[in-house]
Symmetry: D2
Subunit: 337 residues, 4 copies
């Protein structure tokens, strides 16, 4: 249930509403924008009676939620959520471009790559220090040392750092180095991890699971939001289908669908969506044309020798070309990049 407070409502009015919610056995989340909105979530033996709330002072309108998520819905928050990230603003006109290698392979590699993607116009740096690998025998990442190198690369370039966290008990540690905590596709329904990042105050990049529906993704975001962390970006990175020509099938439809259903910024990952570097640029152009608020792209200075995902990594030159192409498309939909 969503309660819209009147323009002239006071903090006392909001407090009284929250008290009533608690008395009914539910939890309230207050969102203060132009107008204050109170979301009522949870379950209780007491059924929610809209009329009880409608007659309270300072309440303008009470509406039931039509979807199983509340805090993630456009109904709750009609404007696209924006939040700052090292000088740029996520969810605003400028398309966020997160670029960097799949894995942090070494100190020099990540610093050099950071400089290269910054030069081409990237607004954030990606790089994995903890790598979810299908095989237990594959390179699993450099761990905390990798995070330190990422922090150094940020110091050199000013680019904020996006990196994955896999262990709920390492959220704080990773958060000491990272500007954005990435939850990977394989962990999208790792509810223990979602609860842990929900308690963090770092922005979260939540990747869609490879067989998760759009609604599953929004429910996963609801876990993070319900934990009190409101800075969540959603990422479409391709889903699993019968098609074998590409690594995954990029669900382009999900971009306008998400933009309609949720106020959270939507990021596209063309690299994992296609799995082959030659297709990354056209998919990146398409994602921006469809309304994505950002891109996350794998770039490696020497793809054939990458420790992971070399086949889908752009070289610095290819990334520069992609940025030029993306900028033109962004302008055609009244955005910049």
């Amino acid at each position: 249930m969503i309660i819209l407070m009147a323009g002239e409502s006071t903090t006392e009015h909001v407090a009284a509403v929250a008290a009533q919610v608690e008395q009914d056995g539910y939890t309230s989340h207050v969102w203060s924008g132009q107008r204050t909105i109170v979301a009522v979530v949870g379950h209780s033996a007491t059924p929610l009676t809209p009329a009880v709330y409608e007659q309270m002072s300072g309440v303008e309108k009470v509406t039931p939620t039509r979807v199983p998520y509340t805090l993630a819905s456009r109904q709750f928050h009609t404007e696209t959520t924006q939040f700052p990230l090292n000088g740029c603003k996520i969810g605003a006109d400028k398309v966020l471009v997160i670029a960097g290698p799949c894995s942090v392979e070494g100190r020099e590699q990540i610093i050099e790559t950071a400089c290269a993607v910054k030069e081409a116009g990237a607004t954030a740096l990606r790089g994995g220090a903890f790598k979810p690998r299908t095989s237990p025998y594959s390179f699993q990442g450099h761990g905390e040392r990798g995070l330190q190198w990422l922090a150094e690369a940020r110091e050199v370039t000013g680019l904020p750092v996006v990196t994955e966290v896999m262990d709920p008990h390492l959220v704080d540690m990773v958060g000491q180095y990272a500007d954005v905590l990435q939850v990977g596709a394989r962990n999208m329904q790792n509810f223990t991890l979602l609860n842990a990042v929900g308690l963090s105050r770092k922005p979260v990049l939540l990747k869609r699971g490879m067989s998760s529906t759009v609604e599953d993704l929004l429910m996963a975001a609801e876990y993070v939001l319900a934990g009190g962390n409101h800075q969540v970006m959603l990422c479409e990175r391709g889903i699993r289908t019968f098609e074998t020509a590409t690594r995954n099938t990029f669900d382009l439809n999900a971009i306008p669908v998400l933009k309609q259903l949720t106020h959270l910024p939507v990021i596209a990952d063309p690299s994992h969506a296609v799995g082959k570097s030659e297709y990354v640029e056209p998919v990146a152009r398409a994602a921006v044309a469809a309304g994505a608020d950002g891109l996350i792209v794998e770039v490696h200075l020497d793809p054939p020798n990458a420790m992971s995902d070399g086949r889908q990594s752009l070289t610095a030159a290819q990334f520069t070309a992609m940025m030029q192409a993306v900028r033109r498309v962004a302008a055609a939909v009244d955005r910049s990049a």
Copy 2:
């Protein structure tokens, strides 16, 4: 196997090559562009020996095909195939936009819609006279009468007509009215029908089956090409996945993949790909950004009362807005629309 003839080769050289192919038990297809190319297809007890052909007069190079299709491959024909259609050129810089109702519902309906989509900038008219419907009790189309109305609409507007043919024995009849024969998604592997349209000399719009891979689609095109009909367009219209938020999942990846693998023009159908009118425009923009050579879009003057597919049909005003948005994106990728 693909045989590239030398620049100075003569028709006698080509004839000799074709004779050798026949003697070996295979079939040859000759393609004359800047240079003449001979594709060797089929099966025979005699294995193909490249060396035999390499030493023939007028032969420059012999290469085995790396894919199971030959005539449809970029290896055979490196330039994108172009063919004329009532003044416009398919496969050229200008993005073809085919628009119109799902079903031809009546004479006035199709003429009025044709005028509306032409005014908005469409370059061809679509409309179904023979409708493949899931239920035997649903409206199955007006048949030949519908085709006559389509022809009238062409007379009024000058727009070429794209319409579906379902029965291999009606290919000639439909071809008397239509400018482009559409093979629907459910018939993509109806090989009897593919053989029939392969014998026609009308351009064919071949829609990808909802669970067909890109390779399946190219093999289906190979049937039409092997029949001698070289004017084939391929259409991505969404595939079947687990996602239920949209009618199908638009496989955006397929656009760059097809552009790489084949010389045939690639068309996108955002209407069937999403199934809801509010998502059609962003998907259309994305398809053009990714490199599609054309769009096919459902437009109805009164969607709530459409006899089929109303939920995904644009109104005339929505289509006009879509055209404006698509034109801007087309310009950003050095095309027009």
Copy 3:
């Protein structure tokens, strides 16, 4: 809408009901078993008013259909449909086993294989004379000559012949040789073909499309039933998913689901469902354990040299072993094989 006639109703009562249906603009299908049932199908501007029919003489009960198919539903016909086939009865306790090669490759091959599968206990012979092949260059079947050889094999063994028809205009010709007309997976929504076999009086084996839902399959069957052909068997043969370990994914669930939703007999095709001969027997056992009324299995006397589908074909010895295993499982679910 389904009208159950009273036990004492007369043919005049039924005729009056049918006349009322026609007057309302619908079509009636009469099914006479222990009790007579009238199905009302189609569309009309006049809404159907159950009360009008309930008060007619001889009518016991009127119920609206809850599903988009009527003639195929268990609501219309509560007992499993049975029909005779050369001495055996489809849909009865004995599990029908259709066996034979993918393609009819020659006269001797099909006669020898027929003898071998008969000896092992098969109750019908399969073999393709018209082959739907992904590539236009693959062997497309021996056509009518293949049908003649199949008829010879029937003469020698007494086994009824199941064979595919692809062209709606060849239904009568194929029906002159075949005992059962097979509609292949790729043609499950070839409505022109469904209409054609609906007008035939030969039993039909309708294979599920590789991306068709159970409901799509029942709607396809409804086309055949609406044409007046009531002898339809449904065949689960595997669907397309992301899994690549097997050719398709056998949808075992579909067997109990179909047995609940429809009165039509359900056949399983373990050969296409798995694509590798070593997995055919366990899947065949499972299908019978789950309640399938029959099996269709590919058997070849020399799989490595088969002209098609050799990888999934059982040898005669493997088929004999499979029959023994299937018989034991059939007995465990109170059936025979």
Copy 4:
């Protein structure tokens, strides 16, 4: 690489081989059955040279692995792995039947259900104390209190307890109560959790992710095995496809495929695979007919009032009937239940 030691090899021979493996930069896993086998896994700059190992004393044969998993492969361990569980033996002739509610709802509920399923013939008890729920607002389980009730139910009935662990840091705590640690489908690629249960010495029931291939499942098992925990059961529980008639699509094919590729016991979960109680029994029969080593089935004494998964839960009477049916099918494939 897999090294088969000779029958007369000594522990010194094995130690020398292990030392060489370590020197080459790899890890060795020793498996002692009738014969001792050394698996060599991991990555190193030094390439593995079979000849080096072949000439060592006590070595009989060296074979490279043909699949990306080694410890999970049938190549490494040709006999099906068996391990004891409270008196019964997993992987042996008797089909293991794990039954119980989705969630542990209360002390009496779980004890009463345990008694009921034991009476019907179950060999282990399931019940969730930590529940992975799509919504953050749904019941998340009773946690450690639920585990205590499960332990009480074991005391009363003697049935070993199977329960899910979601948090890698709670593996030890859950292991103090549970006999088998379940890793849920959503956590199949939660590598942090897989590493944690790999360090435990409790048997693990690893459920297949809803969009994981059979190979993905085996790679996930490899994580647990590589951690030193050899008691792993694999569970097919349905995959995600386009079909909506059932909750998931039971991949029956996976049973014979897994039995061929791996030595680990294979369990089937018909409840999650279909999602509707009326289809559970036929799917359970089919799984056993196809060769499953066990079943895990949801049973609730009052399904309409279950706190989760009521729609797919069997009543005690339905479970008793299922057990009788399953016993007959088990006997038909030379097993018991």
